[in-house]
């Protein structure tokens, strides 16, 4: 058999879903890693292409460039005119987009399954021959600046997460926001874009995932047909420094938000990364402490005391350092009371741990979440792509849920003590201007 069968029959719950998701894998000579998974529940297919480049790979004077470049990928290639990518996909009944995060850039298409080759052709075309020219570059630079205004500058609390990132990370590669600075965007040129493309947009820096109503052999042939001859540019990637120093001192900051009508608080602690068992134990606090209507802080702060309008948070999912964060919008004048309750509840867990039933609830929530997200082929493709790119472990789509299920009440007590300590605390208060 040509394929590597990555996973068979991991039993998550014998009464529920006895077969895991099957994944088949092959690698092209040019280094492109390909993962396929069949799901014939609807006649659709999802294609996700992940490039190993994100905002952490940017130069210090070019923040926001990875995201700007994601826009450039829709500006035309050898056989596809400017913005024709949108048209080809939409006219075939599909959906598509691209997203950029700190650690990767992805592009995806969801289509009726008979249009699989179109998605592969489009992705291969822009991987091989993007048309980077000045006019398109200037146009998209403007669009991105407008995007930044829309998501950060022109709405209440839009700057909270970027500011929290800046506060909580000492390494510049993590502390700057994905959308970057307007100054850097304005200073960037089409030459930067061409160099960026040559450096990062190569088959040996990418992972392709295809999920849906497919035939494995035909799909493999199509992938080889369209991606097989794409050559790597040969430009070597020297990665930035991705290490983050352990925080040893509390950090606090207050910002004024001209659009906010009510104050807010954001709290963050440096947290472990996925695959570390501590990550999964800390994740359980999302349900126990924050997000569920029955969670401790929701009940106390929103329902009982009515100090807060909402509360939420969780652990980021990055392969590099992570943050466990809490965000809440509260009644004016209640800052100290809100903080006291949050920190007291954290101390309670350090001292007394959590109840078994609280943990069981959190585990069940994760299982339910897991199955609901598997409804869509796109989610499956994105998950497999992410696991493959980050950890070279696409099978985590089936097995990671077990890591949550293995968490014990002692684990939670241990990780809260270890990670949610005062010296690791970052506190950002948003005041109304």
């Amino acid at each position: 058999m040509r394929y590597f069968y990555l996973f068979f029959f991991i039993l998550i719950s014998s009464t529920l879903f006895s077969e895991g998701i099957e994944i088949k894998h092959f690698k092209l000579k040019n280094g492109l890693k390909v993962y396929m998974s069949k799901n014939s529940s609807a006649p659709t297919v999802a294609v996700a292409l992940y490039y190993d480049v994100g905002s952490r790979d940017e130069a210090k004077n070019r923040t926001g460039f990875a995201h700007l470049f994601e826009h450039m990928m829709f500006q035309g290639s050898k056989n596809v005119g400017k913005a024709e990518h949108f048209k080809y996909i939409e006219n075939s009944g599909g959906q598509m987009n691209g997203t950029t995060s700190r650690e990767r850039t992805n592009f995806y298409e969801v289509l009726p399954s008979n249009k699989l080759e179109l998605a592969l052709w489009l992705e291969a075309d822009r991987m091989e021959s993007l048309m980077v020219n000045n006019l398109n570059f200037l146009n998209q630079r403007e669009v991105v600046i407008e995007e930044k205004k829309q998501v950060e500058d022109n709405r209440a609390y839009g700057k909270v997460y970027p500011q929290l990132q800046q506060l909580a990370y000492s390494n510049f590669n993590y502390s700057h926001s994905v959308i970057g600075s307007v100054k850097h965007l304005e200073e960037s040129t089409v030459i930067d874009a061409k160099n960026f493309y040559k450096k990062f947009y190569n088959p040996n820096n990418a992972t392709l995932t295809i999920v849906g109503d497919i035939d494995y052999e035909k799909t493999e042939k199509l992938v080889k047909k369209h991606f097989g001859d794409i050559e790597n540019s040969g430009v070597k990637i020297k990665r930035n420094d991705f290490t983050e120093k352990e925080q040893k001192k509390i950090r606090k900051k207050t910002i004024k938000d001209k659009h906010a009508k009510v104050p807010a608080i954001a709290i963050a602690y440096q947290a472990p990364s996925p695959l570390d068992p501590d990550f999964y134990a800390l994740s359980m606090l999302e349900s126990i402490l924050l997000n569920d209507n029955s969670s401790r802080l929701y009940q106390k702060l929103v329902k009982e005391k009515e100090y807060c309008l909402n509360i939420g948070g969780g652990v980021d999912y990055h392969r590099g350092p992570n943050l466990f964060f809490i965000f809440s919008i509260f009644k004016p004048g209640k800052l100290n009371k809100v903080k006291t309750i949050i920190f007291k509840e954290i101390e309670n867990i350090k001292k007394f741990g959590v109840k078994k039933e609280e943990l069981e609830k959190a585990k069940l929530k994760k299982r339910t979440e897991h199955y609901f997200q598997l409804q869509s082929n796109l989610n499956r493709a994105l998950l497999i792509g992410k696991y493959a790119l980050y950890f070279d472990k696409p099978e985590l789509i089936n097995s990671e849920i077990d890591m949550y299920q293995k968490v014990t009440v002692d684990d939670i007590k241990k990780v809260v003590k270890k990670y949610l300590s005062k010296k690791r605390l970052n506190e950002l208060v948003v005041e109304v201007k």
């Binding site: 009464t15 529920l16 879903f17 529940s41 609807a42 006649p43 659709t44 050898k78 056989n79 596809v80 005119g81 949108f86 048209k87 080809y88 996909i89 006219n91 075939s92 009944g93 599909g94 959906q95 289509l111 009726p112 008979n114 249009k115 179109l118 052709w121 048309m131 020219n133 200037l138 146009n139 998209q140 403007e142 669009v143 600046i145 407008e146 995007e147 205004k149 829309q150 500058d153 022109n154 709405r155 209440a156 061409k194 659009h259 009508k261 009510v262 569920d292 029955s294 329902k303 009515e306 309008l309 919008i329 009644k331 069981e360 609830k361 929530k365 339910t368 199955y371 609901f372 869509s376």
Partner: protein
């Protein structure tokens, strides 16, 4: 005064033969194209010659053009390419393509007729482009000279790019081009004497053209403007009718552009369009070959492949649906979909926010949301614990015409969903303490909502589009209507309307008999109310005029949020589907006309869309976008222009065909998720549409004609009947809005404010 250019000769022969002599050789299955080009630089002549050579060859031998990718010259200007092809059915010929510098004349020795045609269209094509470019360029150039130099003859060089081809129209004698041009000025101290002479020469010639074509030059002056972001960039507009020209001059400018900016694609495309228009006796233009479209960033021609067509579409199978009734009036739809071990139960109620009295807007939402704040035997906290401990998702949706509460879970927790829904629907207690908390929270949330420009704009737009006393005009509650709601109102509303006769359940997913039995046990015994359900009709009055433009002042806004809207038709109307399709083409996604123009061409926004709401009575059509402060006028103009374009020329058959494909595909994607399935079924149920319509949806979609969508769109969407609301900092955008009519500046409470 022109350089005599370079001779580029691409000689194409078969099977590795070189030379230009006519030879007829025995057909073979493999041949090599070779060529020579005596050119010192990459002028336009080179790629044109290469492309032409290839085009002729591919036509002559019916070669699968997708097999050809690049036709590159190597360092010695030798064109080398080889490909296996079956030529046995076509007599082989030699094709000589000559690129003569600026003139770019192709000589074809295959057919005299072809030669004549080619030369003719080449000349006319060049005329069309050349004079237009020249006028715009020269006029703009002179303004540049004024701004940047004292001595126009010494210091300036520039280049020009077509930013946008607005239109090309053909008559029996003229080609009319409407172009937006970008001129970038460079310091050109290294210009040769000859080049300087050329510039001077151009200016002199342009005076001649300006006199001859006065209207064109006036237009140019009006359209000319300075780019704020680039002190060396200028825009010009050119609109010109022309019937003669100078090929050399055209190509000079094109070459200048190539040297500085390889983005010559648009020139080339334009040239092609003109070529073919004339070739087809000016009746219509058609680009015959996709292969002649493109240059890569190095100036080499790329032969454009067609996208793969793919296999035939698979038949979309809807999950099995079954309708049931309980004796007490409850109706059900059962949808079996067993690919994942999950279920979703949706309880839909035949009433929505429109039911609320005008002074108590928000009461319906409050009643639905408070169902989970207490039931017999369980407090709000206990309900929350029950839901979370069983891993259930529970959420409510309240729209104008109907409401719903949904519970989704793993298959083995489906009975828990039924259990909690039974309690929420049948025995809510609405504790007074929880009522107070809910109201306090709603009041505080109101402050949060007000910080959103989209919330403010939508709220006001609904109010001005729907007229009193129609309930659709109340997009959301106000502080006053919230404070008018009493605890008694909630209970009264529940008792009156949340009755078995008003409920439709949809149970979907990996369901089995035991789940259906649980549901039956939970709800069939619920006593029928016997109440008569009111079905009052409340006709929507059409918007009759645009009226005043509303500007909601939001100090410090770095963008302006524009919304414009008007009334449409009910969801059940037979014209709704054609209108929906028309809207999708107009502004319904990233490939829509609005998006392409305002984001992709003008770069004014991150996103601009139009949408259509689905209502029992008339819905609303809205165009919406967040644009840069300095671009408000331009964006609104563009929105209007796009509407005018539909009015004038309508949507095209091809656009409709593509959109039908688009919606069909999305339909199959939507079948992946239980929530989408349940929502679609519920909507049909409550808008009185037979559930079989869902099954026939694809057939109905394909039956829509382009005349229908044009007629319905143009009869309903009229720019003079669009109400306009803008949210932004008035100090930055007010003057721009005044050009569209009277502007009323108001605060976030919609109270007029004085402007400076």
């Amino acid at each position: 005064m022109w350089i005599k250019l370079l001779l580029a000769i691409a000689i194409l022969t078969l099977t590795g033969c070189f030379g230009s002599e006519k030879t007829v050789k025995k057909p073979v299955s493999t041949f090599t194209i070779t060529g020579e080009a005596d050119v010192p630089d990459r002028s336009l002549a080179v790629p044109m010659a290469k492309n032409q050579a290839f085009f002729l060859l591919s036509k002559a031998y019916k070669i699968d053009k997708t097999k050809f990718k690049y036709l590159n010259f190597d360092d010695n200007q030798k064109l080398l390419f080889s490909e296996e092809v079956d030529v046995s059915s076509v007599p082989p010929v030699d094709v000589k393509a000559q690129s003569g510098g600026y003139k770019v004349i192709y000589k074809i020795e295959r057919s005299k007729k072809e030669l004549e045609n080619l030369e003719k269209r080449e000349i006319y094509g060049a005329i069309g482009v050349g004079v237009t470019l020249e006028h715009a360029f020269t006029d703009a150039f002179k303004k540049v000279l004024k701004n940047y130099t004292k001595d126009s003859s010494e210091k300036v060089e520039g280049y020009l790019t077509i930013v946008n081809v607005n239109s090309i129209n053909y008559s029996s004698k003229n080609v009319t081009l409407d172009l937006d041009l970008l001129i970038v000025v460079k310091d050109s101290s290294n210009l040769t004497k000859r080049e300087k002479a050329n510039i001077l020469g151009d200016q002199a010639v342009s005076e001649y053209y300006k006199k001859k074509y006065q209207s064109a030059s006036n237009f140019i002056k009006e359209g000319f403007k300075v780019d704020q972001n680039c002190d060396r960039c200028f825009y010009a507009k050119a609109l010109l009718k022309k019937d003669e020209g100078d090929i050399q001059r055209v190509l000079y400018y094109l070459e200048q552009a190539i040297k500085i900016d390889p983005n010559v694609l648009k020139y080339y495309q334009l040239l092609q369009k003109v070529y073919y228009a004339i070739d087809k006796k000016m009746e219509s233009y058609k680009i015959e070959s996709e292969i002649m479209k493109r240059f890569d960033s190095n100036g080499d021609i790329l032969v454009k492949e067609n996208p793969p067509k793919g296999e035939s579409p698979k038949v979309i199978k809807l999950p099995k649906m079954e309708s049931l009734n309980y004796k007490n009036g409850i109706t059900l739809t059962k949808v079996i979909k067993k690919d994942l071990p999950i279920v979703q139960i949706t309880a839909g109620f035949k009433f929505g926010t429109a039911l609320a009295p005008i002074d108590k807007i928000g009461v319906v939402k409050a009643m639905i949301n408070m169902l989970k704040d207490g039931v017999e035997g369980m407090s709000s906290k206990e309900i929350a614990q029950y839901i979370d401990q069983n891993g259930l998702y529970l959420w409510e949706t309240v729209s104008g015409d109907y409401s719903q509460i949904n519970c989704a879970s793993l298959k083995d927790k489906g009975d828990k969903c039924v259990e909690i829904l039974t309690k929420l629907l049948k025995t809510p207690t609405f504790p007074k303490k929880e009522f107070k908390k809910y109201m306090n929270k709603e009041i505080r949330k109101y402050q949060l909502k007000e910080s959103s420009p989209h919330y403010l704009a939508s709220k006001l737009l609904y109010r001005v589009v729907y007229q009193k006393p129609h309930p659709y005009r109340y997009y959301d509650s106000t502080l006053k209507t919230i404070s008018n709601i009493s605890h008694k109102d909630i209970k009264t509303l529940y008792n009156q309307y949340l009755i078995p006769e008003n409920i439709h359940f949809i149970v979907s997913g990996d369901i089995d008999n035991s789940l259906m039995d649980s549901l039956k046990n939970g709800f069939e015994s619920w006593e029928k109310s016997g109440k008569k359900i009111e079905n009052s009709e409340n006709k929507v009055k059409k918007v009759d005029k645009r009226g005043v433009i509303y500007l909601i002042h939001r100090p410090g806004s770095v963008q302006a949020t524009i919304k414009m809207g008007t009334t449409t038709i009910p969801y059940k109307d037979d014209n709704f589907l054609p209108l929906y399709l028309a809207n999708q083409i107009f502004g319904g996604g990233a490939s829509s006309r609005l998006f392409m123009q305002i984001r992709e061409k003008e770069g004014l926004t991150y996103g601009v869309y139009s949408g259509l709401s689905e209502k029992k009575e008339s819905g609303i059509f809205i165009i919406s976008g967040d644009v840069k402060n300095s671009g408000v006028k331009q964006a609104i103009n563009s929105m209007f222009n796009q509407l005018s374009l539909v009015k004038k020329s309508g949507f095209k058959k091809e656009e409709l065909k593509n959109k039908v494909e688009n919606i069909s595909g999305k339909f199959s994607i939507s079948l992946e998720k239980l929530s989408a399935l349940n929502d679609e079924i519920l909507k049909s149920k409550f808008y009185g549409i037979d559930i079989k319509k869902i099954e026939n949806f694809l057939k109905d979609l394909k039956g829509v004609k382009v005349d229908q969508i044009n007629k319905v769109f143009n009869s309903i969407i009229d720019q003079n009947r669009l109400k306009i609301v803008v949210v932004g900092d008035y100090t930055k955008i007010l003057s721009q809005l005044k050009s569209f009519g009277d502007v009323l500046v108001i605060d976030s409470k919609f109270k007029p404010i004085k402007t400076k």
